[in-house]
């Protein structure tokens, strides 16, 4: 290791002595592994070559130009333009976010305030999508939707994404709910608010940060979702990840990387907004 880097690590060590240095190296290594794919992708998007060799032989903005061209004048070969895919993605993400929140806020309230039979089971069921294999979930949903007597397009993506986002939204809302004592709610009732009014006027505003965190997480999860969506999309309704994948299987061209950089930027902006809104340590993933 070069000496300036070494001194940087030593200067930033949180623990004294050898243990501290080891911890620094370990966490540095893991962080590097985590960002490596993103870094590779960014480097590749600036490739000047026309193949996928890494590292690229030369650098240029040609793939960004190509990406821009695809966006403004779609290829005839594409079944669907990126613009349409992006619109679908945004629509699905927004709807998933809204529905997940509408379900999660009352659910969090009930889970924290009320004692009811089957509460433990409800909690388990709520977090099932976290451990359930995505492929199985996608397949199961496909079977259900195909057995319906009517055709669902966008809405079946929304339903799937709400299921996937729900555990995260409920978890954030529950965490926010736990910090609200029942006395403020009772105080509102004593002052003349009906139980429902007390929730709207006092509980929901105090849950605000948790609700916002949940909403943004739901949006991000829906926007990035691939596996389950892959089972449920069709030629008319396609999200951005699916659109990108369909381009890479036919002909793997680095345009995809420039799109990917764009998506990563959007995700970063959303996560940054999340941290700003909620503050450090307020979000539970």
């Amino acid at each position: 290791m070069s000496s300036p880097l070494k001194s940087l690590f030593r200067g930033a060590a949180l623990l004294p002595g050898e243990t501290g240095r080891f911890a620094m190296l370990l966490s540095g290594g893991i962080l590097l592994l985590a960002v490596l794919p993103i870094l590779t992708m960014i480097v590749m998007s600036f490739s000047g070559a026309s193949n996928l060799d890494f590292p690229p032989a030369s650098y240029s903005l040609q793939w960004y130009k190509a990406a821009w061209n695809t966006f403004v004048s779609p290829d005839a070969s594409d079944v669907l333009s990126l613009g349409q895919a992006l619109t679908t993605s945004l629509l699905v993400a927004t709807l998933s976010m809204l529905f997940a929140t509408l379900v999660a806020v009352p659910a969090a309230y009930a889970l924290v305030r009320c004692e009811f039979r089957g509460k433990a089971a409800a909690l388990q069921l709520m977090s099932l999508p976290l451990v359930f294999p995505m492929v199985v979930l996608g397949l199961a949903l496909l079977l259900i939707f195909d057995s319906l007597p009517f055709q669902l397009n966008t809405s079946r993506l929304v339903i799937a994404h709400v299921i996937l986002a729900l555990p995260f939204v409920v978890k954030n809302c529950t965490a926010a709910m736990l910090s609200i004592g029942s006395e403020v709610e009772e105080a509102a009732q004593m002052l003349g608010a009906s139980p429902l009014r007390a929730i709207v006027d006092v509980v929901v505003p105090l849950m605000r940060s948790g609700i916002l965190a949940g909403m943004l997480l739901a949006f991000i999860i829906s926007f990035n979702e691939f596996t389950v969506t892959y089972f449920l999309y069709n030629i008319d309704v396609m999200t951005v990840p699916i659109w990108m994948y369909s381009r890479t299987v036919s002909s793997l061209d680095p345009t995809v990387f420039s799109f990917a950089v764009l998506i990563v930027l959007i995700d970063f902006a959303l996560i940054w907004a999340l941290e700003k809104l909620v503050g450090e340590g307020g979000v539970s993933f």
Binding site: E186, A187, A188, M190, L191, G192, R197
Partner: protein, 351 residues
């Protein structure tokens, strides 16, 4: 009957009894204090009056109207919670205006009432402050202002001063009492602090072991406790077993006898319990036993500066005497001493 009437009120959770057999009449405009050790059911009783707990049995009537099953938000009672429960997302002004907003009071009238209340609690310049920026005592005042903003029929205070430090608590006790008298609002205060009850209450309701033990003015309860529980809970007292000998004579466990006129009606040979308050005992340098003067030995001295508490072993009974420094006779552990038990200060307790 005007005022608040509780009739056979009872609350149990499953088989566990929280409070039972409560019959009370709280007259209008008075400050009534529910006093008792923790777990005696005083907060449960207050919450039933507030409408935050359902009644298991019995009736609650306000000015003749049965309110036992009216939801809390329709009772129009003001309440100050132990945690104060101010709304942290609202300013001082918004907190106080909240009950008015719920009642559809016009913006201008809300404003006027908030200003009036802030003047009352002397926090006029705080109207736009978030409640988190207030000190403990200021929050206390805002909570009270919010509770009385909609002119409630009853003000309920659930140990509202327990979070404050001792000095502030004492001044808030006086402040709340003065405010209550000025507004002439019927108020119920729940506390486990008997000093607080003595300072503030018109009527004290002593609760213990899930039922009402005694109802009376603070002085009545202190001077004439109805039973051993009240005597033990209110103030510090010397409570000791004794046996009536007839003709008003009573023998202590160690064999010494004293003359207590109120025991004249008690049949000879009956076991009784006696109460003497520490401040009623007089200590003197050893003198011959005569009348109600007994001999004892000092076992402990606690000199707190303002008062001296002397514990004496006297005829098989451990007595504590309270004296002021100028009455002190310089006793130390092991010293012999004479104790005078004034006959008129003795109380006989039913167990």
């Amino acid at each position: 009957m005007s005022g608040l009437v509780l009739e056979n009120v009872e609350k149990h959770y499953g088989s566990a009894c929280a409070v039972t057999d409560v019959n009370l009449h709280l007259p209008e405009g008075k400050l009534v204090c529910f006093l008792g050790p923790s777990g005696c059911g005083k907060t449960t009783l207050l919450r039933m009056i507030a409408g935050l707990e359902t009644l298991s049995d019995g009736e609650i009537r306000l000015d003749g109207e049965d309110i036992g099953h009216t939801p809390a938000h329709q009772r129009n009672f003001g309440m100050v919670f132990q945690s104060l429960a101010l709304f942290p997302h609202m300013t001082v002004g918004e907190n106080i205006a909240y009950p008015l907003r719920l009642r559809g009071v016009s913006k201008a009238d809300q404003q006027a009432r908030v200003t009036e209340l802030l003047q009352l609690i002397q926090l006029q310049e705080m109207v736009d402050r978030p409640v988190a920026k207030l000190s403990g005592g200021q929050r206390q005042r805002v909570a009270i202002a919010r509770a009385i903003a909609a002119r409630p029929k009853l003000l309920l205070l659930d140990e509202p001063l327990s979070a404050l430090d001792a000095k502030l608590r004492e001044s808030m006790q006086v402040e709340i009492r003065q405010l209550q008298q000025r507004l002439n609002i019927t108020t119920i205060l729940v506390t486990h602090d008997q000093r607080e009850a003595m300072t503030m209450a018109d009527i004290v309701v002593v609760l213990g072991e899930h039922r009402v033990q005694q109802v009376g003015t603070p002085i009545e309860i202190y001077r004439n406790p109805a039973n051993a529980f009240v005597a033990d809970f209110i103030g510090s007292g010397n409570i000791f077993p004794a046996i009536a000998l007839g003709n008003g004579r009573v023998s202590l466990p160690g064999g010494a006898a004293i003359q207590v006129p109120i025991c004249e009606s008690i049949q000879a040979g009956t076991s009784i319990k006696m109460l003497v308050r520490p401040e009623d005992l007089t200590l003197s340098l050893p003198q011959a036993t005569a009348g109600n003067r007994l001999q004892g030995t000092v076992t402990f001295v606690r000199d707190s500066g303002a008062t001296i508490e002397t514990t004496i072993d006297c005829s098989g009974v451990s007595l504590t005497a309270l004296s002021t420094p100028c009455q002190g006779i310089g006793l130390a552990i092991g010293n012999p001493v004479s104790v005078t038990i004034p006959a008129e200060a003795c109380r006989v307790l039913t167990a």
